[in-house]
Symmetry: C2
């Protein structure tokens, strides 16, 4: 019998697989394996191949909608087909980082949770509650609010100091205090481990969706530690280090092997923490 | 002979029409006129009808992609058809408020400026330069960075004080100092006129895309004043007060009449300023 809510299913799968590995699918046409066309057909073939090769090792899959949207209606049609191929017990995150006023956020939530039936979405905090509440209005679904991102210029706004604390921490505290049922998590980058630790210390409860491990150089052990002992389950998303493990004809096997290694490292890191 | 760049075309059209009226198209299925189906067909029919009825009065049209994305691939197919119906000399803004790390922002820019051939896009500042530069990499295109939005919870982050200035002003100053060729403008809400004046005083150069006039209660005269005397042309966007002027069978005529009145008020406000 399948547990009732997406978070319950996610928690059960993390227990079963022993590691919070989230498979990130960000198929840039210029980075596809040799032999695949740099078109939406190539993107779809690649995304499906990675999903099929790695899905069993992961507890969640995070698809970045930008790589489909770039092809317009044909891109979203490919995403609709891909969505149909994601197993029911794989927590499906649509990474869209939307953020708009209430009436518009409602339509974005309809796209992500209605049309694409995602279990979770990433959202931007810049417009405040209005941009987030319409997503949480969908029963049982999860949002990850951007707090500290993994990109080079993340600090431009996120490190601005307000009353002695960076804006990212202010966002984290606000989210943690306002929504306490576990359905509002935070996006946190692993590229600056000190910031990740600081954010974790500031808000013990919310589940983190940790980005930047792998090609961006984020700290895997720090990432796993930040997923430990929280109210809602945390996730460590890895994209290019898995999906881009090889650009030769062995790309599916290379992705599976890389995921196996990463999952093993995550298990060991978790064991050290007393998992 | 058509002037070369989107901003030059926009400036010429503002001079010709005498008012910076931007037609906002945000077609919520629940707010469609009587008789139209609450489906993507209804949304497309309504959007096209408003565009045809009002396009001649406006210098720009701003379409919010959320209302199409909510219908997935069929929604974007409708947006592709609608885009094809926008006249060449009407400045086309795709309101998407995207904000992601560099490699992803590049794909969002491809979607908006490549696939949909927009003249301008709205973008979120939360991830810093990485989220904005890929849009400006498209020659001659314009971005409007969210500074102070018009929604009730806008102040949650945007009014946080940093060194004596609200975050929104910090964003405005950063954008104004970093990109000085007129292609980086700012989104500013007219619902709090004092904030709008303050923002305008802080950064004299960037063109504003002013939102919130009409149904949201924003101050039209303050909005027009904030578009006066800047490096790049400013725009005042009005959505529901035009598109939702009537939900009866006369909705096209009502939209055109409302646009005519608003354009006239904008002209008068501009004349007071010495336009």
């Amino acid at each position: 019998m399948s547990p009732a809510t997406p978070l319950e299913r996610l928690r059960a799968r993390i227990t079963r697989l022993g590691a919070p590995l989230c498979l990130g699918i960000d198929p840039h046409p210029d980075l596809l394996p040799e032999g695949l066309p740099r078109s939406i057909d190539g993107v779809e073939t690649f995304a499906r191949g990675v999903l099929e090769a790695v899905g069993d090792q992961a507890v969640a899959v995070k698809v970045n909608i930008a790589f489909f949207e770039a092809f317009g209606s044909e891109g979203l049609a490919a995403l609709e087909r891909l969505r149909g191929d994601v197993a029911d017990d794989l927590f499906f995150i649509l990474d869209a980082k939307r953020g708009d006023i209430g009436s518009t956020a409602e339509r974005y939530a309809e796209a992500i949770f209605g049309h694409f039936a995602a279990d979770a979405a990433t959202v931007s905090p810049y417009l405040g509650e209005d941009a987030i509440e319409p997503f949480l209005a969908f029963a049982d679904r999860v949002v990850y609010v951007l707090a500290r991102t993994s990109n080079p210029s993340a600090g431009r706004l996120q490190e601005l100091m307000i009353d002695g604390r960076p804006l990212a921490e202010h966002v984290a505290r606000w989210v943690a205090e306002r929504w306490t049922d576990g359905r509002a998590g935070l996006v946190a980058g692993a590229t600056v481990p000190d910031e990740l630790h600081r954010l974790r210390d500031a808000v013990p409860a919310p589940g983190f969706l940790v980005l930047g491990v792998g090609a961006q150089g984020g700290d895997l052990e720090a990432a796993v530690a930040s997923c430990h002992g929280t109210l809602a389950p945390g996730l460590v998303s890895v994209s290019r280090a898995i999906a881009g493990a090889s650009r030769d004809s062995d790309w599916r096997q290379a992705a599976a092997a890389s995921a196996w290694q990463l999952r093993d490292r995550m298990r060991q890191a978790g064991a050290t923490l007393g998992h």
